[in-house]
C-alpha cells in the first residue's frame, strides 16, 4: 500500500465516520421531533409499538441479565476479598462490591448485553427492511420510517435499559452477598445492613444515568448501521456485526468519559 493510498483511506474513513455521526444526530433529532410534534400532526408514536419493543428488549432479556449479574457480583466479591486480604481488611469488601456493581459493572454489562442482543437485532431488522424495500414502502404510504420504526425503539430502550440496570444492581448485589456470606461467614442480613449504610442513592443514580446514555447510543448505532446497508444478505450480516462492535466501543468510551467528568 502506497503512502498516498494510505492517506486516501484515512480520509475516506474519516469522512464516512463524520457522515454516520451526522446521520445519527439527524435521526435522534427527528425521533425527538416526532415524539414531541407527532400527536399534533395526527402522526403519533404508537404506544403499542413502544410496548412491543420494550417487551423484546427488556422482559426477554431478564434471565440472561440475571445470570450475568450474579456472575459479576460473585466475581467482584472474589477479587475484592482476595485484594483486601493483603491488608487484612476483607471485612470491608461490601463497600467495594457495592460501589463497583452499582457505578460500573451493572450498567456496563447490561449495556453490552443489550447492545449485543437488541442493538444488533434492530440493525438487522432495519437493514432487511431496507433491502426488501419496506422502508420505501412506508415512505410512499406517508408513514415516516423514523416515527414508525426508530422513535418506538428509542423510547423503549431509554425506559427499559435503566430498569434492567437497576434489576442488575439488585441481582448482582444479592449474588455478591451470598458469596461474601459463605466465604467470610457473615450473616446475609448483616451484609444487607452494611449495604444500606455504604450505598448512597447517588451511587445507584450514577449507574442509571449512564444507562440512559447507553440506551441512546445503542439505538442510534443500530439504526445508523441498519440504514446504510448495501448488498443483500451479506450486507445485513456485515452491518449487524458492525453495529455490535460500534455500540460496545461507544458504550465503553462513553463510560470512561462519564466517569472522568462525574467522579473526579
Amino acid at each position: 500500500m502506497t503512502a498516498r493510498t494510505w492517506v486516501e483511506n484515512i480520509g475516506r474513513l474519516t469522512v464516512e465516520g463524520v457522515t454516520e455521526m451526522g446521520l445519527g444526530a439527524a435521526l435522534l433529532a427527528e425521533s425527538l421531533y416526532w415524539l414531541a410534534a407527532g400527536p399534533s400532526q395526527k402522526q403519533p408514536v404508537r404506544v403499542t409499538a413502544v410496548l412491543q419493543q420494550a417487551m423484546e428488549i427488556g422482559i426477554k432479556a431478564l434471565p440472561i441479565t440475571a445470570v450475568l449479574s450474579v456472575a459479576i457480583g460473585v466475581m467482584v466479591s472474589i477479587q475484592g476479598i482476595h485484594t483486601l486480604k493483603i491488608f487484612g481488611a476483607e471485612s470491608q469488601v461490601t463497600l467495594g462490591v457495592a460501589l463497583s456493581v452499582t457505578r460500573e459493572f451493572a450498567p456496563l454489562i447490561t449495556g453490552i448485553l443489550v447492545a449485543g442482543r437488541s442493538g444488533s437485532a434492530l440493525a438487522a431488522r432495519l437493514a432487511t427492511m431496507k433491502i426488501n424495500e419496506e422502508i420505501s414502502a412506508l415512505t410512499v404510504m406517508g408513514v415516516s420510517p423514523v416515527r414508525y420504526l426508530v422513535a418506538p425503539a428509542l423510547v423503549a430502550m431509554m425506559i427499559v435499559l435503566p430498569l434492567l440496570t437497576w434489576f442488575s444492581d439488585c441481582i448482582g448485589l444479592a449474588g455478591a452477598g451470598l458469596y461474601i456470606s459463605a466465604d467470610l461467614g457473615m450473616q446475609f442480613g448483616a451484609y444487607a445492613d452494611e449495604l444500606r449504610n455504604v450505598l448512597a442513592v447517588d451511587d445507584v443514580m450514577h449507574g442509571i444515568g449512564k444507562s440512559v446514555l447507553f440506551a441512546m447510543l445503542i439505538t442510534i448505532v443500530g439504526v445508523v448501521n441498519g440504514s446504510i446497508v448495501t448488498g443483500g444478505a451479506e450486507g445485513v450480516g456485515r452491518v449487524t456485526t458492525r453495529s455490535v462492535v460500534h455500540a460496545i466501543a461507544a458504550i465503553v468510551i462513553t463510560d470512561m468519559i462519564f466517569a472522568f467528568i462525574v467522579t473526579r
Binding site: E133, E134, S136, V140, V143
Partner: protein, 267 residues
C-alpha cells in the same frame, strides 16, 4: 380539449457520483390512462420510478404529480399527496412483521379515523378485488410470489388512490398468474385510476398500456401509443421490441484502445 395531466416530468436529470443516470427526461401521463415505462436492464426505469415517487431528489428538472411539483415539496406537503397515490413494489415490500391484513390496514390506520370494523371490511373488500379472500391472517412469508404481488396491490389501492404506480407487477410469475394480474390492472383502470406501470414484459405491456414510454441510455427514446412505439425507427427501441441484444460495431483499433485504456481516460 385534451385530458388533464396526472404526471408531468420536465427536463429531469439524475446524477449519482457525478455520472448522469437520467438526462433531460420529459414525459406526460394523462389522467385515467395506463402509461407503461419500458426499457432494458440498467436503462434507468427503477431510478425514474423512485423519483416519480419522491423517494429521491433529482439534480435538475420538474416532476408534477397531480399538478404539484414534488421536487419543491416538504414532507408535510408530500404527505397529503401520498394519500392520493398507491404503490406496489416489485418485491411486494410487505412488512414482514405484520400479517397480510395488518399490512393492508396500515395506510388506513395511519391516515384515517375510521373505526376498526369499517377498516376490516374495507381490507376484506380489497382482498376480494385482488382475488385473495380469507388471506388476511397469513404472514407474508407464507405467501407465494403471485400472492405477494396481489397483497401488495391490495395495500396500494386501500385508500382508493387517484394514481397507482406498479413496479414490475407480473415479472417472475407464471403466464397464468401474470395474465390475471394484467386483468386486474385493467379492471382497476376502468375504475378511473391513472397508472404508471414499469415493466420489461412485452406481452403484458401491449395488453395493458394506453401509451408506452421506452427508456434507454438515460433518456426517453420514444413515447406514444403502442402503434407509434412499434413504428419507431430507433434501433434501441426495435432491439427491445424484437428482444435482440444491441451489438456495438467498433473498428478493431478502437476496440483495442478500449481494452487497454482505463475507463476514466476514455472520455
Amino acid at each position: 380539449m385534451s385530458d388533464p395531466l396526472a404526471i408531468e416530468v420536465k427536463g429531469l436529470r439524475v446524477e449519482y457520483g457525478g455520472r448522469a443516470v437520467l438526462r433531460n427526461v420529459n414525459l406526460q401521463v394523462r389522467a385515467g390512462e395506463v402509461m407503461v415505462i419500458m426499457g432494458g436492464s440498467g436503462s434507468g426505469k427503477s431510478t425514474f420510478l423512485r423519483h416519480l415517487l419522491g423517494l429521491e431528489k433529482p439534480a435538475a428538472g420538474e416532476i408534477r404529480i397531480l399538478g404539484d411539483d414534488i421536487t419543491q415539496m416538504s414532507w408535510a406537503q408530500m404527505l397529503e399527496l401520498r394519500k392520493k397515490m398507491g404503490v406496489a413494489f416489485q418485491s411486494g415490500a410487505l412488512l414482514g412483521s405484520l400479517t397480510v391484513g395488518e399490512n393492508i390496514l396500515l395506510p388506513l390506520r395511519e391516515h384515517t379515523r375510521l373505526d376498526e370494523s369499517t377498516m376490516r371490511i374495507m381490507m376484506r373488500l380489497k382482498l376480494d378485488v385482488v382475488n385473495l379472500p380469507g388471506c388476511e391472517d397469513l404472514m407474508p412469508s407464507q405467501l407465494s410470489g403471485g400472492m405477494i404481488k396481489r397483497a401488495s396491490l391490495a395495500r396500494a389501492i386501500i385508500m382508493d388512490p387517484k394514481l397507482l404506480f406498479l413496479d414490475e407487477p407480473s415479472s417472475g410469475l407464471d403466464p397464468v398468474v401474470a395474465a390475471a394480474i394484467d386483468e386486474l390492472i385493467l379492471k382497476l383502470n376502468e375504475a378511473g385510476m391513472s397508472m404508471v406501470v414499469v415493466t420489461h414484459m412485452l406481452e403484458s405491456a401491449f395488453k395493458i398500456a394506453d401509451r408506452i414510454a421506452v427508456l434507454g441510455d438515460g433518456e426517453v427514446l420514444v413515447s406514444g401509443t403502442i402503434d407509434e412505439v412499434r413504428a419507431s425507427k430507433d434501433e434501441r427501441v426495435q432491439a427491445l421490441l424484437n428482444r435482440r441484444e444491441k451489438h456495438e460495431e467498433l473498428p478493431p483499433e478502437e476496440y483495442l484502445k478500449r481494452l487497454t485504456t482505463r475507463p476514466e481516460a476514455r472520455t
